[in-house]
Subunit: 401 residues, 2 copies
């Protein structure tokens, strides 16, 4: 069997970024992947400006008890004149500092005479209440790295340097289908011996949340000719073809044979529980990924092995895969799998200023209650016995699922 | 000044759920809010079934060294006949157990004779390799709670109990506009004294990620008559009207006066840094929320105070607001604000099996680099001095931002 880490590495090594990118307006590219770095072409802020509502002054001229003329008024967005000698300027937050002024006094520290002149409570140091040109971003500096998944704050930052559109990789088209003659679509009557197709209803929205365009082909009858035709079509229309079910060693599965006939297939015996079996290959120009049919195994396989492949396949530069933290178990796990890493569905429960892990009682369950109940996965090494207090690495579900 | 907790409580007390809901197909309602609980109307699994590929047997009949006829073949999805005496059934994972069988033997623990009969290596206990009817969900049990934000796994679980559509609250319509004559849209030339409008480009996608329908009204000239007209229109078209800027005590701000004229306004002096000033009120039938114009203050005010109001306003039942964890600072913060809670932008950095907090060096920055760099906020009490090692509560940005 192949380890989880080795399987992830093998998948990521195959994940080439999209060849194409497109330039789109900021408000259309939330959660897309930036194709090239963004370099600032201006300073932010673009000029020295006031951090307060108050008065722009020459600090060297200021004396308590002396009244100053207000020689100009500067709301934000106005263009100042040079500050006249022995005068001050009324100024508002964000307004550009007039030439000659070197400090801003908060209005709360001043008093206005009946003739409109202003007196100051104290002397002030040069630079007080001034936001300096370029103190946030300097012209020529790197603002956003290529391969970044664009979150709202990134788009705000791009706007702050005057950029209205950015180059993003073209959307990944993922075709999905589901096999198994026992599968029934929800909303139809429950036939004896059948179960409802849960995988379609979490996989499609999870792929969309990843920024993929999904070609949802539904349930395919588990017959070789039908599956081959579908694979041919999907391999032409999509960048990645995914399926749930049909890739185990059971003799009723035809997906395996169909992929071998129409492309190439590697079946990996991954040392993971749940999450077996996983298949990877090619159909036409598309990558092929076969997830297990068991919903919990498909879910764990998707979260642990496949999701980061799809991210990298979209051009995203990924941080190192690592747990969000190590937390003590509150449970016992006395009979570990001797050969496979186990990913237990766990909930993170507050415990004073820290947290402990609770495990869903039915870890072997075939359906999704355990994933809905939990916050993520605790990772156990092969053969690792867990006692209350054992520190375990925790991987949260992550965004979008 | 009013505390952060009191402000959140006051906002949440005003956040009524939408009056209307609509029933929509599962694949159209990812990240929407469930309007009524979902109760299962069947058992999952719906019948005792095989957890393995192998042979369904009467455990009491089994004897090592005795060969059994294979009296039926049961792929998943097939309807079994009662098990004939002194025979076994070929069975595949997920297939319904035939009446009379009480265990499944893995095919790896059997051998097949040339005449097709099967011999078993061992005796087996009753119940072996059987997934029991209802072991995951029982008929009549609660599957999903009302007020739940529907994630992909929830949709999968709903499908697994045969449900094809669910009632969700109608989408919240949020009108947003931005004031300040110093604001310039990105993509246009940088005029002296102007800055680019960053807030629009993070707020609109953040609202969309929350599931809101956004009416984006762009930059509005900071004049009273224009602002009043816009508020009247927005108050009719939207459930919530939001703005950035124009609600401070500065005399150049007209939003405040316009809201007072067209509805009602509470200006809150919240003891938060950054994040001041915040305004809340009503315009027509809509709620009004005024965020600060400073992008970092607007961002922190949105994350800490406003986002959960919008969630509750969508009908979402919220968990208690609490930090994701307490982590030690790696920095000094020697001059805290004596009267306001401070929310420092921090990054969570691995440190052995735990993590430490790094603070962005420029906490006073007027633009968004600090938010892009950070993973979330560390919350300081008024007057709290931080030394390396001080444990601080950390609030991650959360999903979608």
């Amino acid at each position: 069997m192949q380890s989880v880490d080795a399987t992830r590495d093998a998948l990521l090594a195959c994940a080439r970024a999209p060849a194409q990118s497109e330039i789109l307006p900021l408000l259309d590219i939330a959660h897309r992947v930036l194709a090239r770095p963004l370099v600032a072409r201006l300073d932010v802020p673009p000029h020295d400006n006031s951090a307060m509502d108050g008065y722009a002054v020459r600090s060297s001229e200021l004396k308590p008890g002396v009244a100053f003329e207000v020689s100009q008024r500067l709301p934000a967005g106005s263009l100042p004149s040079p500050l006249l000698p022995a005068s001050v300027a009324r100024i508002f937050t964000g307004a550009m500092l007039p030439e000659g002024a070197d400090a801003v006094v908060m209005q709360e520290h001043t008093s206005t005479l009946p003739d409109g002149r202003v007196m100051f409570d104290d002397v002030v140091r040069s630079g007080l209440n001034i936001r300096r040109r370029g103190e946030d971003i300097t012209d020529g500096s790197s603002v956003l790295a290529g391969g970044l998944r664009l979150k709202p704050a990134h788009l705000g930052l791009a706007a702050s340097v005057g950029v209205a559109s950015l180059p993003v990789y073209t959307q990944l088209r993922v075709a999905v289908f589901f096999t198994g003659d026992e599968l029934q679509e929800p909303g139809r009557p429950a036939l004896p011996g059948h179960i409802y197709n849960a995988n379609r209803y979490w996989l499609v929205p999870a792929l969309r949340a990843l920024g993929c365009e999904v070609l949802d082909l539904g349930i395919v009858p588990d017959r070789l000719a039908d599956t081959r035709q579908l694979l041919r079509d999907a391999g032409q229309a999509a960048d990645v073809v995914m399926t749930c079910g049909g890739v185990s060693v059971g003799e009723e599965d035809h997906v395996k044979a169909a992929v071998c006939a129409e492309g190439e297939l590697q079946q990996w015996r991954v040392a993971i529980k749940p999450g077996k079996p996983l298949a990877f290959g090619r159909v036409g120009q598309a990558d092929f990924i076969g997830l297990p049919g068991n919903p919990v195994a498909a879910w764990v396989g998707f979260i642990v092995l496949v999701r980061d492949f799809l991210r990298a396949r979209q051009g995203e530069v990924l941080p190192r895969w690592q747990p969000q933290g190590w937390l003590p178990a509150s449970f016992r796990w006395p009979r570990p799998d001797p050969r496979r890493e186990e990913f237990l569905r766990v909930r993170v429960v507050p415990d004073g200023t820290s947290h402990v892990l609770h495990a869903y009682p039915q870890q072997g369950s075939a359906v999704l209650s355990s994933c809905v109940w939990s916050d993520g996965l605790a990772r156990l090494q092969p053969g690792q016995v867990v006692e209350p207090g054992t520190l375990l690495p925790v991987y949260g579900w992550g965004a979008g699922v």
